[in-house]
């Protein structure tokens, strides 16, 4: 056991207290939202709900779950998140590995990719292209056009770059080829990096709603995010002006609050599992011996 100085003890206490405070600051608004989603509409409208539900009810969740398309949209979301993440990771990991090496044309290639991060042709050309490729009303529109992301590529590449060269050189001496090195050394050693990027991609896929609304002409093919986006119309004069019944539906802040949780829960369930990869650089020391 190491000796812990008094100053260190004070630091640990203050630090922990501070971080817990920050965590509370992040979570309290969500507690409020949760309370709203579980409260009765009237109580919410009159602004008396704080951190505890008033007249507890799960109507807001029922209303959302009841919908025939709800389960279907969850399945679509799961499918696109799983397939999309796997494909993206495959593309990015292979490219990231290659680009973490030095080879001719690498810098040019890198700028070629960075360019895609900065410039975009906008909605119309993309739509024309994707339609021409037959991606309209096609599940793969969720997967393929967004599979490559320069941002994530650069992150992965930098995680790879931080792996000691010595390891790779040793493997090369042993006669391993590039693919084996990637599989046996780089992937296991960058678990934290992979988990991070995978998480980003997953969250991105799960929450992305615009593609569904734009490319699907049947709501049956919407993923959960698109489904939640349209189930309660926006506060838009055009939608509301003529019709009181729409206005009644609008006041359902409770449903909107419920949506936030329905949308976020699956990803939050995944995150703790990914966190185990954030343990401190376990393997590295061992391999280096």
């Amino acid at each position: 056991m190491k000796r812990v100085s008094t100053g260190r003890k004070i630091f640990i206490v203050c630090n922990t207290a501070f971080l817990v405070l920050m965590a509370l600051l992040c979570v309290l608004p969500l507690v409020n939202l949760l309370a709203i989603s579980l409260s009765e509409k009237a109580a919410v409208n009159s602004g008396i709900v704080t951190f505890w539900p008033v007249n507890f009810t799960i109507t807001a969740y029922e209303r959302t779950f009841q919908n025939a398309n709800f389960i279907r949209s969850i399945m679509i979301s799961i499918a696109r998140t799983v397939i999309g993440t796997l494909l993206s990771m495959a593309v990015i990991v292979t490219a990231g590995y290659a680009l973490s090496k030095d080879f001719r044309g690498r810098t040019a290639l890198m700028w070629f990719f960075v360019f895609t991060m900065l410039f975009s042709g906008g909605l119309i050309p993309s739509y024309i292209l994707n339609s021409a490729l037959g991606l309209k009303n096609n599940f793969w529109v969720y997967i393929i056009p967004g599979a490559f992301s320069c941002y994530n590529l650069i992150l992965i590449m930098n995680f790879f770059k931080s792996i000691p060269k010595a390891l790779e050189e040793a493997a090369l001496v042993d006669g391993a080829n590039f693919f084996q090195i990637l599989w046996k050394i780089f992937l296991p050693l960058s678990k934290a990096g992979l988990a991070t990027v995978a998480l980003f991609i997953m969250v991105g896929n799960w929450n992305e709603w615009f593609t569904g609304i734009l490319y699907m002409s049947d709501t049956k093919n919407y993923p959960l995010a698109s489904f939640l986006q349209v189930i309660v119309v926006q506060n838009n004069k055009q939608d509301l002006a003529l019709d009181p019944t729409t206005a009644a539906a609008m006041s359902e802040r409770t449903i909107k609050a419920a949506q936030v949780f329905i949308g976020a829960v699956p990803i939050l369930m995944v995150y703790p599992f990914l966190q185990k990869h954030f343990a401190k650089g376990i393997v590295m020391g061992a391999v280096k011996e």
């Binding site: 209303r63 119309i124 002409s217 049947d218 709501t219 004069k237 939608d239 009181p244 009644a248």
Partner: protein, 579 residues
């Protein structure tokens, strides 16, 4: 060097691809390129059944006919903006397969099929724009919600000239309705030809002033009828503790100040301005004394109202956070029992009734908006239609469309088979020999239900005159039309709100449609947003005391100099051409 060449050829390729896509449609439908066919193939293989979105494929032939199981069914493709109905279909039903679609097939032999679906208002507009590029199929019938899009559709040549069709096929009873709203044709007309008709035009219910009657009574006050009285009431509501709880937690008037001072629907402060400007209300183009159109926000009368509101604001008599609150959100000030006056369409009474959770004794009552000092009424914006219907240039069944449209109108006229609504158990139910419209009162009771009237291309059930129906019932007439039967039911369920409708009817002449309703003029395209930004800033900053009242005079000068005069001139040229 080599790399650069590659990049360049890529760009060229891209440009060529894009132009190919843009051009193929434009060069005529005869050679609907191979590209289209291939995308059609993909669609069929992914759906299992072919989409009939292609132009000219509207006849009952091929797989569409097989779908309906009878050779007689005509498929008309439509565009639709998705609304909250998305959540309400019966299990297994969807936008193209529901009781209302079935009813039209059964009764009229017409299958309405949505092939272009917009998620919300802006997404719908985006999709129509994409349809203009040719990468999205333009359906046979499509609603359009802004005048620029109408102009673009006409210019692109993809919208049908329906002048003769209207002449030939529009049923007489519909023609009478349209004759009542000639201004709805202004944006739809170019070179004497008609390209669009308004979606089920009718004068939408006007705004009323909703007041906390219990507060008035507590303080022994009367509802205000002019600006001075209004001032007295909001002062008392703020300073004399109308709810009697001993705390200074109330104020007079809730409104929205995050945009123009004319919201047109709820939380509207416009009547306060109209009290000094008459018909020239802010944000609207109305005729001046010479019969020329002028923009209401620059009318000198606004200065007086602004001066007053600045004072009220400083005194805390009006909503202190109005500048950062939208029209819908401002209503919660009333619901939370903080504000005592709110102006908006009569249905707001239903939307703010939850105030009774905070203040169980709350009583709401609808009053007419205040009058001008000379006794003349104050005015507000009128809305006569929610969008226009346009037609694909290749659509050949206008006769059938009008037949269908007229059939939908049966419900408004109370003719044909629709006595109470389109479909029993959906938009109405008969419980114990009594017709009910609230799905919670259905047998069995339902939390929410598919609304056939909202599922059609019109977005709303057509009515002839909603306000008048309420007024007739209020006057003791025997209800005949579905609208009147509905109004009668409403009087039982929520009398205050229904009285509001009847009241709005009495004041219907105070509703003014914006007389400029065409696509933005050339100067507007360049400068309008900047002028609007200036207007919103100046008005709000004056009320908040950040700028002196003289800022209004400078605003009027700047407005005119920075394009406003030019725009006024252009708009008047347009006005002369359509009047």
């Amino acid at each position: 060097m080599k790399k650069r060449k590659i990049a360049l050829s890529l760009l060229l390729g891209a440009a060529m691809l894009l132009s190919a896509c843009g051009g193929s449609k434009e060069s005529g439908q005869a050679d609907a390129g191979s590209q289209e066919e291939s995308s059609q193939d993909v669609e069929s293989s992914s759906d299992g059944e072919g989409s009939t979105a292609q132009e000219g494929n509207t006849e009952a032939e091929g797989d569409a006919g097989a779908d309906a199981g009878s050779g007689e069914v005509l498929t008309i493709t439509i565009a639709k903006q998705l609304d909250e109905n998305a959540g309400k279909y019966d299990s297994g039903d969807d936008i193209n397969n529901n009781p209302m679609i079935d009813l039209a097939i059964e009764k009229k032999g017409i299958k309405m099929e949505t092939t272009l679906l917009g998620g919300d208002a802006s997404n719908y507009t985006t999709k129509l724009r994409l349809a203009l590029t040719g990468s999205e199929d333009l359906p046979d019938v499509f609603p359009v919600y802004d005048t620029q899009m109408i102009a673009d559709m006409i210019e692109s040549g993809r919208a049908k000239d329906i002048t003769e069709d209207v002449e030939q096929y529009m049923p007489e009873r519909l023609r009478e309705i349209y004759d009542r709203f000639p201004e709805t044709f202004y944006p739809a007309t170019k070179d004497g030809k008609i390209y669009a008709i308004a979606c089920a035009p009718r004068l939408t219910e006007g705004e009323v002033m909703v007041i906390r009657q219990d507060w008035l009574d507590n303080l022994g006050l009367e509802a205000p009828t002019n600006l001075d009285e209004f001032e007295a009431v909001i002062k008392a509501f703020t300073e004399d503790d109308p709810d009697g709880n001993g705390e200074k937690d109330t104020y007079g008037f809730a409104y929205a100040g995050d945009g123009l001072y004319n919201t047109g629907w709820v939380s509207d402060p416009v009547s306060l301005f109209s009290a000094n400007t008459g018909k020239n209300i802010p944000g609207s183009w109305q005729e001046d004394a010479e019969g020329n159109l002028m923009y209401g926000s620059i009318h000198e009368g606004n200065r007086k109202t602004l001066e007053r509101m600045a004072q009220w604001h400083a005194n805390g008599w009006i909503f202190q956070e109005a500048a950062a609150t939208g029209a819908w959100d401002a209503m919660s000030q009333f619901t939370e029992s903080k504000a005592g006056i709110l102006i908006g369409r009569p249905w707001i009474i239903g939307s703010i009734k939850d105030v009774t959770t905070v203040a169980p004794d709350a009583v709401m009552k609808a009053y007419p908006t205040i009058r001008q000092d000379n006794g003349e009424p104050t005015y507000q914006s009128a809305e006569v239609n929610d969008g226009w219907l346009m037609f694909n240039a290749d659509f050949e069944h206008m006769d059938k469309f009008f037949e269908y449209y007229d059939w939908l109108y049966d419900i408004a006229f109370g003719t044909g088979e629709f006595q109470y609504g389109y479909l029993e158990n959906y938009d109405y139910d008969i419980v114990n020999d009594e017709v009910v419209f609230d799905c919670k009162l259905f047998d069995p009771s339902l939390e929410s239900v598919f609304d056939p009237g909202k599922s059609t291309v019109l977005k709303n059930t057509p009515v002839l005159d909603n306000m008048a129906a309420y007024a007739n019932v209020a006057a003791g007439q025997e209800p005949v039309s579905p609208a009147e039967i509905k109004a009668e039911a409403s009087f039982k369920a929520s009398p205050e709100q229904s009285e509001g409708y009847a009241l709005a009817n009495e004041h219907r002449s105070e509703q003014l449609p914006n007389l400029f309703n065409a696509a933005p003029t050339a100067t507007m395209q360049r400068s309008w947003e900047q002028l609007q930004t200036m207007e919103k800033q100046v008005y709000t900053n004056i009320i908040y005391g950040n700028e002196p009242i003289e800022a209004f005079d400078k605003f009027v000068e700047d407005w005119k100099a920075q394009g406003g005069d030019q725009i006024t001139q252009e708009i008047n040229e347009w006005y002369q051409s359509v009047k």
